[in-house]
């Protein structure tokens, strides 16, 4: 080490672009508070230290098709149960059958996706080994264990045309559990250390509720005769408003953790979701909504838009777990804020 390490080719041992910038040398410029965050994919405006850029979190091992698909199907099923019960009560038999079958089919598919995603599918019954309110997945398993048979009974009695009182009871019970099935999935993903999921824990249930409503309305628009889809068309509009409104609010409140929603695949999916949902709701609610073909197009757009939203949220979460920036910077900011509020001018807390 004592000789000069400067050679004709530059500093010996220094490989350009491969220096691990660590500690004080990496700098810790604070992110400036700016308005309008979240609308554009921005150049990262803050430097931070990391361990060779490696993620701090282990990213979810969930398969996108299984789990994002499950989030989608859960919302579709839950809101469809509401439509089914409403249609049942207001004597719209075709809408009731469509929504009832949709709920039973969606929840069955979602259960299959859940079991398929397990590392040990043969042990899926272990989900019902305990009941833990601290585990949204445990709560969800029990919820689905109650809800799925109800939807199947409701749909089966409707199709068979027998045991009507039992069918009515099952339809009503499914409608009671349905909203919980549609919204608990937001808690499922928010109750993680994944920044872009956890930071949205206040608004995400509303996003998922709205998205479930648009999906259920979409299914009804595609399958049910136009004469009975009035409630579905209104549900599409209300659901789209709830979904898009709370999603915007969420992104505004999330700070840096909103950035993954505006980058890469998540951005594409969420843009598509926004467009499809808006167009679907507008088409369905407009005067053309009574036209069978227009209703089918609107319904398909709503169904696709809702799915795109869940996949977009899923992929944004993965991206936020993969980049240490989203773990380190908000936590640094939190520490700095705590230090500022506790002892002005004092020394920062010992970590």
């Amino acid at each position: 080490m004592s000789g000069s390490d400067v050679t004709r080719d530059g500093v010996e041992g220094a490989r350009p672009g491969r220096d691990a910038l660590t500690g004080a040398h990496a700098g810790r410029r604070r992110r400036r508070r700016g308005r309008g965050r979240g609308e554009r994919a921005m150049v990262p405006d803050a430097e931070f230290s990391s361990y060779y850029g490696k993620p701090i979190l282990n990213k979810p091992t969930w398969k996108p098709l299984d789990i994002a698909g499950y989030l989608y199907l859960g919302g579709l099923a839950g809101a469809s149960s509401l439509l089914a019960a409403g249609a049942h009560a207001t004597a719209r038999p075709a809408l009731a059958r469509t929504a009832g079958l949709g709920a039973a089919g969606a929840v069955s598919l979602s259960l299959a996706a859940l079991v398929h995603d397990l590392g040990r599918p043969g042990r899926f019954l272990n989900m019902l080994r305990v009941f833990k309110p601290t585990s949204p997945m445990s709560v969800g398993s029990w919820l689905l264990a109650g809800y799925a048979p109800l939807t199947v009974v409701a749909a089966a009695t409707d199709v068979a045309g027998r045991y009507r009182p039992l069918g009515t009871a099952a339809t009503v019970s499914a409608a009671v559990l349905g909203p919980a099935v549609a919204t608990y999935t937001a808690v499922l993903v928010a109750d993680t250390a994944v920044p872009s999921w956890h930071e949205g824990h206040r608004e995400l249930p509303y996003v998922f509720a709205g998205s479930g409503a648009t999906a259920a309305a979409g299914l009804a628009l595609v399958c049910a005769p136009a004469g009975q889809t009035g409630p579905a068309r209104r549900m599409a509009v209300l659901g789209a408003l709830l979904e898009l409104g709370s999603f915007r609010l969420m992104k505004r409140r999330m700070g840096l953790a909103a950035e993954p929603f505006e980058n890469g695949r998540a951005r594409t999916l969420l843009r598509a979701a926004e467009t499809l949902t808006s167009v679907g709701a507008a088409l369905g609610a407009g005067p053309g909504g009574r036209n069978r073909a227009v209703a089918a197009i609107a319904g398909a757009a709503l169904l696709t838009g809702s799915a795109a939203l869940r996949f977009g949220v899923f992929h944004a979460g993965i991206a936020s777990a993969e980049d240490p920036k989203y773990t380190v910077l908000p936590q640094r900011e939190r520490l700095a804020a705590a230090a500022r509020s506790q002892e002005p001018g004092g020394a920062p807390p010992a970590s």
Binding site: R28, L82, D117, G119, P179, T183, A193, L204, A209
Partner: protein, 348 residues
């Protein structure tokens, strides 16, 4: 402590919890055990990694040369329960004299004076602690704040200042462990020692604990489907042995023992390092008031946590779970109301 077996509800999800094993249902729990990893004496030998793999029969998970540093393990995961981080910095460790290339210095004259002057304790030594002395330079008791020695007066532009940081990372065995909280099967459980362990015959591989961990510790073994992590050698603890990594550590960088004792020892060590001029020394995960209620395995670090790949201010995600359930309930009610409105007849 003054409490009986009743658990204060406020401490279930976050905040200090001095009786973590009792809170989990062990009325006569032994003292909480843990690790204190003093990275200031870690030499990066990876004996802990090897001992852990050997004792726990962890499968090989790829022999890869990263090219980024001496660290080819990269991080904790299903098949890596101890991970030695390696960081090279252009920064002096503490009170040592930076710079080693000094052509103008007469090394023979300096060598002749070696040991005769308190300011020349020897090349590369850290400044000795005032009074009690330190592990780095025991015996000689020079006055505090020894002036820069004659051997290396100035580092030219600071160019040769360098330090290596090495740190053996491990599962933190949090007081409020998110992995345990979110496990839907009860496979993850709290032991009588206050540690967090996966029951491999229960785990169904749902993978929920993986993104729940704020430290990125637990992970799924792809071919096996289940999740795995450090058990703090539960099998060895049960028969009064110390965990394999601590046993193998040649410098006592990994210290195992009752957590209370370790915390005292760690506070003492930080104070000693500070007085020796290592101003960067700080404890990580030792504060019971932090976002996870304090770690069962905590660290003495020489730089910011994120430099070692650790989150600077981790918070157990379930701290916010009551709020999440409330929001979900309100959202569910909104959805139901939305449906009712959809079916309501329009105003005439």
């Amino acid at each position: 402590m003054t409490d009986n077996t009743e658990v204060p509800g406020a401490n279930r999800l976050s905040g200090p919890q001095p009786e973590v094993a009792r809170a989990a249902g062990y009325p006569d729990a032994p003292p909480r055990m843990g690790f204190f990893t003093d990275t200031s004496v870690c030499i990066g030998c990876k004996a802990c990694e090897v001992a852990c793999k050997e004792w726990n029969a962890i499968p090989e998970d790829g022999l890869e040369l990263t090219g980024m540093s001496y660290d080819n393990t990269q991080g904790l995961g299903a098949d890596t329960w101890r991970h030695v981080a390696f960081i090279e910095q252009r920064k002096p460790l503490g009170g040592q004299e930076p710079g080693v290339g000094h052509e103008a210095v007469d090394v023979f004259a300096a060598a002749g004076a070696l040991g005769t002057s308190p300011s020349s304790p020897g090349p590369g030594a850290t400044a000795p602690a005032p009074g009690g002395g330190s592990a780095a330079a025991p015996g000689d008791g020079p006055p505090a704040a020894a002036p820069a020695g004659e051997i290396s007066p100035v580092a030219p532009e600071g160019r040769t200042e360098l330090r290596w940081l090495m740190s053996s990372d491990v599962c933190k065995h949090c007081t409020h462990a998110a992995c345990l909280d979110v496990c839907p099967t009860g496979s993850l459980f709290r032991t009588e020692f206050g540690t967090v362990v996966v029951q491999e015959d229960i785990c169904n591989g749902c993978g929920y604990c993986v993104p729940a961990c704020p430290y990125g510790v637990i992970d799924q073994r792809p071919d096996d489907g289940r999740v795995w992590k450090c058990t703090l050698c539960y099998d060895r603890l049960g028969v009064g042995m110390e965990p394999a990594c601590a046993k193998a550590c040649p410098t006592d960088s990994i210290q195992f023992g009752p957590l209370d004792e370790l915390r005292e020892r760690a506070a003492d060590r930080v104070a000693r390092l500070h007085s020796a001029g290592v101003a960067d020394a700080r404890l990580y995960g030792a504060d019971p008031g932090d976002g996870v209620g304090g770690d069962g395995a905590f660290f003495l670090l020489l730089d910011e946590p994120e430099v070692y790949g650790l989150p600077p201010d981790p918070v157990v995600t379930t701290r916010d779970l009551p709020a999440m359930w409330r929001h979900a309930a309100t959202a569910a009610a909104s959805l139901a109301a939305l449906a009712v409105v959809s079916f309501a007849r329009r105003p005439r």
